[in-house]
């Protein structure tokens, strides 16, 4: 797509401006879709951050990690500990969550990046499952095992106490100097961080560093004979994507201050792979779209239950309504993963470039149709050319 062109920073600023407007007005334009409530929009932002970070590794270098949920989990645990020990302010939580995940990624990457291809994927998967099991067993003093790590009244909160903020009867909520991490304000905190993350991600895409990462994906062998030591490049990409995951994990804790081990399970790692592939691997905006779509449909589909379905099929005769509802019921509610699996299969088979490929195919179809009507098409093109010449 945009990958073969060298884009000017001015164009990117415009890109950022459009994205910012679209994101910040979400509470308005998502209303007709029934998705304009804060919890869901926070998820869009958080999983957007997770997915764009993942895309730096998978999309640019082609290294398929199956263990990124481990970094998400580390980010969450760290953030909750920061709330417990230091302060309910989100800033230390986010900073520590991101940094610790980065260090964790450094350690896992150091071992996993010794191999490539399927062996790399298996190694990352193994590490993530190890982390998951450790969180459940040996590390219970840190992770609080199955119950999950939660805030309590008696937490130290050293910085808050020093500042003279005492918790009252109810549990305190994470905040940014008084702006609460829940509700609409929580969404705007997440949105701001997503936009900052996206800006850095955009700069990485447009830099020589990003070009070199893409070259590694394209032909790692050639990179060696071209004088590049590819290991440190891969390592950097891995750590950056780990830090993005850590930031996403910390934000999960900001919007809902508890952390459980299930966040590190392999299904969570698989989800970000799905999101990225669904949106379009290696495309700029694809992972964001993927995150939005998957979280949206997860929300819609899992809300269905048998009663809702029977109501929906009430126009059918009774003897038919029950079996139909039973069959459809397999694909919704708890079974929504079945739908996801089917959609994923269809995408991989018919649209391997994800939604972004679908969009560019549509665009090509439309331009071709315009060309088929020579008079108006040619005229338009000329006008466009003149316009662009004027810009230069």
């Amino acid at each position: 797509m945009t990958n073969t062109k060298i884009v000017s920073p001015k164009q990117d600023l415009l890109y950022m401006a459009i994205l910012s407007v679209v994101v910040l007005t979400m509470p308005i334009w998502l209303q007709p879709f029934g998705a304009a409530y804060p919890d869901l929009m926070q998820k869009f932002m958080i999983f957007g951050i997770f997915a764009i970070g993942y895309n730096i590794l998978f999309g640019l270098t082609g290294y398929l990690s199956f263990g990124h949920a481990a970094f998400l989990g580390v980010g969450s645990y760290t953030a909750v500990w920061s709330f417990k020990l230091l302060s309910m302010n989100v800033i230390p939580a986010l900073i520590f969550g991101t940094i610790l995940s980065g260090l964790f990624a450094l350690a896992i990457g150091f071992v996993s990046l010794r191999r490539s291809g399927i062996y790399f994927s298996i190694l990352t998967l193994a590490f993530a499952q190890m982390s998951y099991n450790l969180a459940y067993s040996v590390l219970t003093p840190i992770t609080n095992g199955e119950t999950g790590l939660q805030l309590t009244q008696g937490d130290a909160r050293v910085l808050d106490r020093m500042a003279g903020i005492e918790a009252d009867a109810s549990l305190p909520t994470p905040n940014l100097f008084g702006i609460e991490g829940i509700g609409y304000s929580g969404f705007y905190i997440c949105a701001a961080l997503m936009l900052i993350s996206f800006f850095i991600y955009l700069r990485i895409f447009r830099s020589p560093f990003g070009l070199k990462l893409r070259a590694i994906k394209s032909n790692q062998n050639r990179m060696g004979y071209t004088g590049y030591n590819t290991r440190p490049y891969l390592m950097t990409a891995f750590v950056i994507s780990g830090m993005y995951a850590g930031l996403a994990g910390s934000l999960l804790a900001v919007t809902d201050p508890l952390a459980g081990a299930e966040r590190m399970q392999w299904t969570a790692s698989g989800e970000v792979v799905l999101i990225t592939i669904l949106g379009g691997v290696g495309t700029l905006i694809g992972p964001l779209l993927g995150a939005g779509i998957i979280k949206y449909f997860e929300n819609i589909f899992s809300a269905f239950n048998e009663t809702v379905l029977l109501n929906a099929f009430s126009f059918l005769p009774d003897w038919l309504a029950h079996p139909v509802a039973a069959v459809v019921g397999l694909f919704v509610g708890e079974g929504w993963h079945l739908t996801l699996g089917l959609v994923f299969m269809l995408i991989v088979i018919f649209l391997p470039g994800g939604i972004m490929e679908g969009i560019s195919r549509l665009a090509r179809l439309i331009t071709n149709r315009n060309k088929a009507e020579p008079k108006s098409g040619a005229h338009e093109n000329k006008e466009k050319e003149q316009a662009s010449a004027g810009e230069v």
């Binding site: 990958n3 073969t4 062109k5 060298i6 884009v7 000017s8 920073p9 990117d12 700069r203 990485i204 447009r206 830099s207 020589p208 560093f209 990003g210 070009l211 070199k212 893409r214 070259a215 994906k217 394209s218 032909n219 062998n221 050639r222 990179m223 060696g224 004979y225 071209t226 004088g227 590049y228 030591n229 590819t230 440190p232 490049y233 950097t236």
Partner: protein, 253 residues
């Protein structure tokens, strides 16, 4: 500094029980074109692989000027000034032609690793102009924004040449640079290589096409069954009875 830019001494390479190279001694003077010819399976590509660090020799050593190459990684050897084109072109198929040529140019400027991910490619005017110049040299400038993977094999070879030339290597290794090319493309490549020769770049060429060899090479080594059986000027090699027997099979060249 020795007068030889490439100095291969007593190199042996075994694959299991098979002796692919035995007692190879090869010296290449700076600024010359040295051709290696020989029948299929003689060990020509193996020798190049040993020089660029893809294979470690069982015995012997390779020097570039005064620097030892043996035991170094391919990327270290490239950074010392050795570039190579492969028998099947090794390019970046998903990137544009321009980007393909920019990547090696960055390696030359930035070394084996440089972070700097906050600078835009757009601001790298010097590298881009350099890359455009190189594409012009090999006659691919009109396609600079196309994706490299969709080109013909001949064009891919020329692109790979441009990628390597952009690094101004001290030693340029070419593994059958004209294989599979039409006569017209072959002649264009010969012209291009002659122009590089005028710039004084040392080259080692493996080639089957005698037309290419005799129009370019200053010296020729003949490799047969893993050993160098003859070395000399094109005239000497052409008239050597051993060569005729081992390689040319008595056929007049």
């Amino acid at each position: 500094m020795s007068e030889y830019i490439l100095d291969v001494t007593d190199v042996d390479k075994n694959f299991g029980g098979l002796r692919a190279l035995s007692d190879i001694n090869l010296r290449v003077k700076e600024g010359t074109v040295h051709a290696i010819i020989g029948p299929n399976g003689a060990g020509k590509s193996t020798l190049l692989n040993v020089i660029v660090g893809r294979l470690a020799p069982n015995r012997g050593r390779v020097l570039l000027g005064d620097q030892v190459l043996t035991g170094k990684q391919p990327h270290e050897i490239n950074q010392l000034g050795v570039a190579r084109v492969f028998q099947t072109p090794e390019i970046f198929p998903e990137l544009s032609l321009l980007q393909n040529v920019m990547v090696p140019a960055f390696a030359k400027r930035d070394g084996e690793f440089k972070l700097g991910f906050l600078k835009s490619l757009f601001a790298e005017n010097e590298i881009r102009e350099h890359a455009e110049h190189l594409l012009e040299d090999v006659g691919l400038i009109s396609q600079k924004d196309n994706v490299a993977g969709s080109m013909s094999r001949g064009d891919k070879r020329r692109l790979e040449l441009a990628m390597c030339l952009g690094q101004h290597p001290k030693l340029f290794l070419l593994d059958e640079p004209t294989a599979g090319m039409s006569r017209h493309d072959t002649n264009r490549t010969i012209d291009l290589l002659k122009r590089i020769k005028e710039r004084g770049m040392t080259k080692v060429i493996i080639e089957h096409d005698m037309h290419v060899v005799f129009s370019l090479a200053d010296r020729i080594s003949v490799l047969a069954q893993g050993a160098i059986i003859c070395e000399g000027t094109p005239e000497e090699v052409r008239n050597d009875p051993r060569v005729k027997e081992a390689y040319l099979g008595g056929e007049a060249v």
